[in-house]
């Protein structure tokens, strides 16, 4: 059996044209096979973290990777029967100057007893492998997991890194606050992150910022206290007074707690 393969690369800067290997597309003349970093049979479960860890641009646009994986997968399933068409479509990517390209790899003569999927997996591990991801802190990992488990990030009204500006009656800007996560539909839910395990100066700044943010949000009728959420971690005993101050203006969710998802969902799904 002959297996012809293409290396799928991501090009961060089309001017530099330096590719990073992210996947492999191969065909045996009658079928095409596609493997890529973080892929999954369920498109909603694609692991974007490898792609997001590559550059600043990929960190901010990780969602695009899911769209591309879906595109390559669809291409393999539909055009895999026609090697010429597959080759033409893949070749167009480079000509268009796209950020994702397919570069011809070569032809492998494979023993007929070896199933093509296994060979493609081997190719994938040889050519792409698993790049090193920056180790996530426990808090970041738990927070990501919590947002994924509660489907908050996939809700249509979800947004992130939002700045909300409030105006007085004369139309002048009176204050503005920043929110790392928000559910925009009424009744709105707004989130702030407060890390207890950090240096004192940074910690106090986070607490003050969160309190100010929630006070402004509530004063301007943007969100109720019941829907102002502090996403945080277990707190040391000497900082319990700060937790009380936060609890006076918001709901506290420890993202590392076992019942964090249920707690968060009870806040988000509470009747307005």
């Amino acid at each position: 059996m002959r297996l012809e393969y293409y290396l799928i690369q991501y090009i961060d800067d089309p001017l530099r044209n330096e590719g990073r290997n992210i996947g492999v597309m191969a065909h045996d003349g009658s079928c095409a096979y596609f493997r890529a970093l973080g892929d999954s049979d369920n498109p909603d479960e694609v692991d974007l973290s490898y792609f997001e860890a590559m550059t600043e641009k990929t960190r901010q646009n990780g969602w695009v990777y899911r769209e591309w994986l879906n595109w390559f997968d669809t291409l393999a399933k539909n055009e895999g029967r026609y090697p010429d068409r597959l080759s033409r479509v893949l070749g167009k990517l480079e000509a268009q100057g796209a950020n994702f390209v397919a570069r011809y790899g070569g032809v492998l003569d494979v023993d007929d007893e070896i199933i093509p999927e296994a060979m493609v997996n081997e190719l994938f591990h040889t050519l792409v492998g698993k790049p090193v991801r920056k180790a996530q802190s426990k808090f970041t990992a738990c927070l990501e997991q919590l947002l994924a488990n509660t489907d908050i990030k996939t809700r249509p009204d979800y947004d992130w890194d939002v700045e909300v500006e409030f105006f007085d009656k004369s139309g002048k800007l009176s204050s503005s606050v920043r929110l790392p996560h928000i559910l925009k539909d009424k009744p709105r839910t707004v989130f702030k992150i407060v890390r207890f395990r950090t240096n004192n100066q940074s910690f106090i700044r986070q607490v003050n910022d969160a309190i100010f943010t929630f006070q402004e949000v509530q004063k301007n009728g943007f969100a109720d206290k019941g829907r102002c959420v502090v996403l945080t971690e277990p707190y040391p005993a000497d900082k319990s007074s700060y937790l009380d101050r936060l609890a006076a203006v918001a709901q506290i969710v420890d993202v590392t707690a076992k019942d964090a998802a249920a707690h968060l969902l009870s806040i988000v799904n509470a009747a307005g």
């Binding site: 498109p43 909603d44 641009k57 990929t58 901010q60 646009n61 969602w63 695009v64 899911r66 769209e67 591309w68 879906n70 595109w71 669809t74 291409l75 539909n78 055009e79 479509v89 268009q96 796209a98 950020n99 994702f100 990030k153 996939t154 809700r155 249509p156 979800y158 947004d159 890194d161 939002v162 700045e163 909300v164 500006e165 409030f166 105006f167 139309g171 925009k184 301007n220 943007f222």
Partner: protein, 267 residues
């Protein structure tokens, strides 16, 4: 200084207006991400910043000698009629004006898949946008829509549907621009193949055709006529094209009705 693409603003005083918009029918609006934010400008009460955004520059070429004019007119028409096409601007180059098509995202989205099943999914996901595009492509005689659409399908919280590339419409349906104008001013549907034929809703198509038909003539003319020769497109050609499109938009329903079996909209 803000990080690129980081800031979205909800102005609470506008909220009532925004809610009104959301309650009714609306087109999916895409946001163009910023490539870099530069210095803060010293003038202006809104405290603006200079910035750059990503774009693709398009010129006239052998295969499409009126490309820049075509793109600019198609954009003006699309903006007038609220058709979801990628935005763009004319950009000054050493070779005269070129067309800069603004990229919807710093990392490209793939073009819409060429497979039938995927097109069907897109038509279901974006019923109004796909119907609008079919009506628009018939209006401008674009038989080359193919997969020239940037669309999100798997990212539920980011909706993007933007068509691009109008190099083979208007004055470039075939080699001679006079022939193109003649065909536009005839009952010839021109579009023989479209990715959303057999997939779009009849009601949505009828709604878009009706919207286009009632558009005032002057708006269509203003989209076509630049008031001077533009690259190789003379003023006479611009006026002739305007006449043809005014005729075509008024007869759009009839043109479509004649070939409704080809479009085969779903009931």
């Amino acid at each position: 200084l803000l990080e690129p693409g980081e800031k979205f603003i909800y102005k609470t005083q506008l909220e009532q207006f925004q809610i009104k918009m959301l309650a009714g029918w609306r087109m999916v609006e895409s946001e163009y991400k910023i490539h870099s934010i530069r210095r803060k400008l010293t003038t202006g009460v809104t405290a603006p910043y200079a910035c750059t955004i990503h774009a693709v520059l398009k010129y006239d070429g052998e295969e499409s000698p009126y490309n820049v004019y075509n793109e600019q007119v198609a954009l003006r028409l699309a903006q007038t009629l609220h058709i979801p096409v990628a935005d763009g601007v004319l950009a000054a180059t050493a070779d005269g004006p070129a067309y800069a098509s603004i990229k919807v995202n710093p990392i490209d989205l793939p073009d819409m898949s060429e497979t039938d099943r995927e097109r069907e999914k897109v038509a279901i996901l974006y019923p109004d946008e796909s119907a609008a595009l079919v009506a628009f492509d018939i209006l401008i005689g674009n038989d080359d829509r193919a997969s020239n659409i940037k669309v999100t399908q798997r990212t539920r919280h980011i909706k993007i549907f933007r068509a691009f590339d109008h190099s083979h419409a208007l004055l470039n349906i075939e080699g001679d621009p006079c022939e193109c104008i003649k065909r536009l001013k005839s009952s010839d549907m021109i579009v023989q193949f479209h990715p959303f034929f057999e997939k779009l809703s009849k009601a949505a198509l009828e709604r878009w055709v009706a919207r286009i038909e009632v558009t005032e003539e002057d708006y269509i003319r203003e989209c076509c006529i630049f008031g001077k020769n533009f690259r190789d497109v003379t003023e006479t050609m611009q006026h002739d094209l305007a006449d043809a499109l005014v005729w075509r938009k008024a007869n759009l329903a009839t043109i479509i009705a004649r070939e409704i079996n080809k479009i085969a909209p779903l009931p």
